[in-house]
Symmetry: C2
Subunit: 515 residues, 2 copies
């Protein structure tokens, strides 16, 4: 197996120990990324009959990867580099070894049988979730979620958590290193009333931005053309990626040179697909920005889900809901989705992208209410994993919280607790990273604006390359070299704060609502 030479990958002096570790890391990554392709294929392409064998393929690959990551051989290779002082003097090498050790230690805590059981169960559960959602039948999905929750609790107990913490922390740490239920509550509890107040004020203003464009019907082929056009213009490289359709939009793929976005189309609202596509393209631009020379090693991987989400949110919200972006797209739209669209003024397009209205569906929600949707999910998964809420009680807990946080009566589970794919994939402790992503995005974007004169004005001319280049060099190029909090401090000069998000929302939405 040839590998990328450590010298090329890491600009370090040659180290046989490092080369051996990199080879070992890359081989596991080759197998894990093959499994990612099986996953992508199942979501987009696989015939229904293939499910049983696919579940077994995925379980076996997950088991082999887990065996390799947790192996004594891996530990010995890590220790050999740790004891090579010359190699470790390079900050990239030290980071690679630190993260390789973190991954190894996480993996050794899980028995192989549990990893395999989880892979197999979630492969089947995803399929059952899609059917249950279609029929709005939570009871069909409940046994699968019950089984997954049991496996997740067992996982959490294997990983363990800090004193004074709780089981949920052990799961969240997989997605956002250092994240705990307590730290999330510390951000969410004060943020919730500020967001609720903002939403209440906007609703009470009596003003509503023009939203006619959200009812503008556009045929799917034209929406596809628009999605591809915008994704490409903001910087997603179609020579190293694809855009397909799936039930729930996602960004997947195998590595930086094969990144796969999906989106979904609603014939009656072109803004749905546009927002989803820009969101997923933001994830994709991050993945494509990871250094190929370091592929398959931790410093060629993304930092955390929260940081990942900051990239998708920035393109979706800070860019895609800005007046400058719409000033550009306003000129391009008639050519792509038809001359009819020329009847909308810039004010109407900008307004339609920024209507605030509490709704049932997270992925269709506006920037102001979005984080309230996350808070519901956080409360529920924390309680399920902690054992204070039965799976059977999820629909009523969900509906009660939607009433309390968003003032809504949820009509059915399809528009309620069955709307998201995440739990069916065995991902709990994941949802809060979306709100962390919104917080990071606002703080990063303020820093980018301060460093790049005329950044936002450039959007109005269709110029997005300066932002992409800034993200490439400040965030993407580092892989996992820095932890999420180190990265935030390094890029913005400050620890994470909710102020940039509130400044962004208040500064944009209050004027739009005549305040």
């Amino acid at each position: 197996m040839s590998t990328i030479a450590a010298s090329e990958a890491l600009s370090s002096s040659a180290s046989p120990a490092l080369d051996a570790l990199v080879t070992h890391l890359q081989e596991a990554s080759l197998l894990a990324s093959s499994n990612s392709l099986l996953d992508w294929d199942q979501e987009t392409t696989m015939p229904a009959g293939g499910l049983e064998w696919r579940a077994r393929q995925q379980a076996l690959l997950a088991r082999i990867v887990h065996e390799r990551v947790s192996s004594l051989e891996r530990r010995d290779l890590i220790e050999a580099v740790e004891s090579d002082a010359t190699a470790m003097a390079d900050g990239s090498v030290a980071a690679l070894v630190r993260e390789a050790r973190r991954d190894h230690e996480k993996a050794t805590k899980l028995p192989t049988s549990l990893v395999e059981e989880m892979a197999k169960t979630s492969s089947m559960a995803k399929h059952e979730w899609a059917l249950a959602r279609e029929k709005s039948d939570f009871r069909r999905f409940a046994p699968w979620l019950e089984k997954l929750a049991g496996l997740l609790r067992a996982q959490a107990d294997c990983y363990g958590f800090a004193e004074g913490g709780e089981r949920w922390d052990a799961l969240a740490d997989l997605y956002e290193p250092g994240c705990t239920a307590r730290s999330v509550s510390a951000v969410f509890d004060p943020l919730r009333p500020r967001l609720q107040r903002l939403v209440a004020d906007l609703t009470a203003s009596g003003v509503r931005p023009p939203s006619g464009f959200n009812d503008f019907a556009v045929a799917i082929p034209e929406q596809e053309a628009l999605s591809r056009f915008v994704a490409e213009r903001i910087g997603f490289d179609f020579n190293r990626g694809r855009l397909d359709r799936s039930t729930h939009p996602f960004c997947s793929g195998t590595h930086c040179n094969d990144v796969r976005l999906t989106t979904r189309y609603n014939e009656r609202c072109v803004n749905d697909a546009l927002g989803s596509t820009m969101h997923e393209a933001g994830h994709g631009i991050y993945e494509q920005g990871l250094p190929f020379a370091r592929v398959g090693t931790p410093i060629g991987e993304s930092v955390s889900l929260g940081i990942h989400e900051s990239q998708s949110r920035m393109w979706e919200n800070q860019v895609g809901r800005s007046r400058a972006f719409w000033a550009w797209l306003h000129r391009e739209l008639p050519r792509i989705i038809g001359a009819d669209s020329a009847r909308f003024s810039l004010d109407e397009l900008y307004g339609a992208a920024n209507v605030v209205e509490p709704g049932f569906i997270r992925v269709e929600s506006d920037e102001a209410t979005y984080n309230l949707h996350i808070m519901v999910r956080f409360e529920i998964e924390r309680a399920v994993i902690g054992g204070s809420l039965e799976v059977a009680g999820i629909p009523s807990a969900w509906n009660r919280l939607y009433k309390e946080y968003l003032g809504l009566e949820v009509p059915d589970d399809r528009r309620g607790c069955l709307q998201d794919i995440h739990w069916s994939m065995g991902a709990m402790g994941y949802f809060p990273t979306y709100t962390l992503g919104n917080l990071y995005a606002s703080q990063f974007f303020e820093a980018a604006c301060a460093e790049i004169p005329g950044l936002v004005e450039g959007f109005a001319r269709g110029e997005f390359a300066p932002l992409k280049a800034w993200l490439n060099s400040n965030i993407h190029a580092h892989g996992r070299r820095f932890t999420p909090s180190e990265l935030v401090e390094r890029v913005t000069g400050k620890p994470l704060s909710a102020e940039p998000l509130m400044r962004h929302l208040e500064g944009k939405l209050r004027p739009l609502y005549g305040m």
Copy 2:
């Protein structure tokens, strides 16, 4: 890893040794079939940038599968079943063990490094072939073919061949157990003049069947609809399979419940896609007919490429070029490809499907000239592997043989020696199985007609299920239980002969050409 219980898979009494072997076989098959999906994805879906990582993924998976198949553990498991007399009393078990041993012994003869080098080289070479073919630039592809030929010679030397044989035999045996260059020549040498005479007689007859339908332009979406309709009606199950597009049509997938066909569309000739689709659907119906209860074991796998090809050819030729088939499709066509098509009479449709005319492209050729195309490829690959022909000399050798066998001057390498994907995949010793397939198909079909009264007449009513059921139970259900020659004898009561093929061709074509 749960496995299908041996008792279920093999109707044998419980045997722990057999269960252990089945688990070991199935795990290798899970990984090999994952690699098949990577391959399918590369041919149909993968962005160009993904090539380098994909080659490394495939090489690693191929290496792991090879390590498992050739392992001492596998040998021990085989021997444990061999010494279990009760288990071996079941004919299916005995066949499973015999074939597992054959695969193990083949695999132990190849060093891991060679397997991996071949997987990696062919992954890159396929890509280069596609570019070279597009530009009709053999020199671009030559270094890759040179490298592949070297690896193939090394492979052949590892496998070895019988005394008095040659290197090519060792490769052919992989595809068609027992096949040698001498045995192929013994069939091809007398067959060639009979085919050349038939073609010459048809050409000299002065008669030409009406071929206007071959110039009937049909838009791609309608051709796709027709391809799907016919594939489904002849018995391909879309709940357990797909139909996509690729440069060169193929049948791939991961196992009997996920079978993937591809075809290609020529806007100016609907018969191209129809023929390709029926051909690939024939392969697919064989794959879907393999018993899922035995998946991942040799008795859940196809016998040989020649037998596989007999299935595709039978649906393409014995069915798809029959007057009865066209009597049915004639009624269906206007609804699917447009009312314009109603202007063609049944005679015109049947004639167009059976025009004999020497041409450059194998996959577009008619039944009478097809085997002459194969004979050219056989001569060339035999000489390249034997060392009497340099890779650089392939274009001139190719063009000389086309002149001699088919009377044609090949205008460029795109329509000459670059037309087929096979060599770029490292597949030499493979082409003759196409002609063996034609021979088997004719002989099987004569047997089916003798056993099922009114079989062909049923085609005229769109009834294809009797033929599919006959193939399912006589051929597909057995997996590799019987060798190709055993299967032919068992199903038809006679050893393989060229007479049924010549009867089929002469009996159909001479009357069509007024003789």
